[in-house]
Symmetry: C2
Subunit: 310 residues, 2 copies
């Protein structure tokens, strides 16, 4: 595959109406996020060139799904891109960073879609000045993974957080952030900024802790209750463990790049559960927990609206 046999743009009612923010968009890693981004970008800007980098079988799926215009298994193909999005698991993205300058010789904006930000933002400080990196995190997802789960609509109404590096102040960093914000807004997302450390602290609580607990509870209950026990469960266990089918490789990387914050969040929960275990039969104790929890739950519904009603 090469840039000459790109497929025809899909018919789209907005075709040509939206001004191009980037002309040649290189996406490295076409999983759920990269694939959805590719679909959304092609839909939004039929005249832009969407370039994918991944394994051969993934590229074939991406072409069949009309997610990319061209694709290749190595980074040579993104040499002309004016936007590069790193959409592999976070540690893979970090491993790629030092190699980018070999392929990208012209001024280029680079972002990523990883769920942890501090580690990659620090690693990106070593990039040469013509490569302007701004960390990004679309707060969207699914317990499913891979290009076949990708959907252009996944970003609709969702936050897309950027973590500009205070040590990278300057005109090109500001301009890159502004372009990225316009880019994701056109894709339907709601852009926002947050510092990388604050991002990782909050995500340890609202995302990483629930994920690990969902997996741990599914494992211990499965082992202790067995097949027969599971068959007696109502909908509650299913809700609480919906995340338990999430992608292992992605989450292992998240845990290794946000270990400290996740440990602190786990400690909060372990301590609370340990206290509760001792006081389960004390009058008023469980009632107190439920009153507080349902209050926070109402607030969560208010704050996330669509996100939790789906």
């Amino acid at each position: 595959m090469n840039a000459d046999n790109r497929s025809l743009p899909l018919i789209d009612q907005d075709a040509g109406r939206r001004p191009l923010v980037f002309e040649r968009i290189g996406i490295v890693g076409l999983g759920l996020m990269g694939g959805s981004l590719a679909l959304a970008a092609r839909k939004t800007w039929p005249t832009a060139l969407v370039i994918g980098v991944d394994r051969k079988d993934v590229l074939e799926s991406a072409v069949v799904l009309h997610a990319i215009d061209v694709g290749a298994q190595d980074l040579d193909i993104i040499g002309e891109a004016d936007l590069v999005v790193l959409a592999a698991p976070v540690e893979e993205n970090m491993r790629l960073l030092p190699h980018l300058s070999y392929y990208l010789e012209k001024p280029v904006v680079v972002t990523d879609v990883s769920s942890t930000k501090r580690a990659i933002v620090e690693a990106a400080r070593a990039l040469p000045p013509h490569i302007t990196f701004v960390g990004g995190h679309p707060v969207a997802g699914s317990a499913r993974s891979g290009i076949r789960a990708a959907r252009a609509e996944i970003f609709d109404g969702r936050r897309w957080l950027f973590t500009p590096d205070p040590e990278a102040e300057g005109e090109s960093a500001r301009a890159a952030l502004e372009r990225l914000e316009r880019f994701v807004e056109a894709l339907g997302a709601v852009p926002g900024t947050i510092d990388a450390a604050g991002h990782d602290r909050v995500m340890a609580l609202v995302s990483h802790l629930p994920q690990l607990v969902a997996s741990a509870i599914m494992e211990v209950v499965g082992i202790a209750a067995g097949e027969e026990g599971l068959s007696l469960s109502g909908t509650g266990l299913g809700d609480t463990t919906r995340l338990a089918s999430s992608d292992a490789t992605m989450w292992a990387g998240i845990c290794r790049t946000n270990t400290g914050e996740i440990r602190e969040a786990m400690t909060l929960l372990i301590d609370r559960l340990s206290e509760l275990r001792e006081r389960l039969d004390e009058p008023g104790k469980v009632e107190q927990l439920f009153a507080a929890a349902s209050g926070w739950r109402r607030l969560l519904d208010e704050k996330t609206g669509k996100a939790t009603r789906e």
Copy 2:
């Protein structure tokens, strides 16, 4: 309100076709479960008399919703019932047991719909011989509570577990169980039997633990992340904490009547989370957890089918 001004039965295509299993069904407590049972019974047997006992405002709602034929605030009204269903929180049901013989003078079947069974089955051993108690637990529910959340369809395709007491062997106990199984089957549920202690052990794992963890995680994340942090969460936290708005009184009673089993289930999870916290950055550890958890999660989907897909 009294039995003379019962409202007209609703039009139902099966009206009169199903043989009556019980003619006068007394339901004590018209919350989510009692209310849903009342609606389902009236829909299934328009010629049966459905009698409700609850507070005045709840009775008014029950009449408006066509859930009951007659209602009263005290137990006098169920004196003629041939089935009495205790549908208050479990401790309230247990407090009522010793008073039943004052109101029920004729042979009668009594069951309950509480989520813990060992304590109430033991308490029911003190009932006089003309009152035949068989513990019951419809494995259905909702994070919502109260008569306004009641739906006749709540039992469709769900397990309804009975816990016949081995110490109450005899013809009347066997006959009562057989009638109750026919009764709930006609309501759309799938009847089954299990010993009370085994029931409470399994439910501590597949129901009580997920509930307490959902509440605890919502509380600690709410406090630590605050309003602003919650607004950055995706769908994962919402799924994991969907149970956090459950009814406090009901759950406090469950915790006090199944303390030992719940403590053991909590210990399994606390130990697993504590181990995981130490080994978060160890190669392969998180991957191992995710592989096991997603395997159990697939099995849960298979075993519960409809229950977790909803």
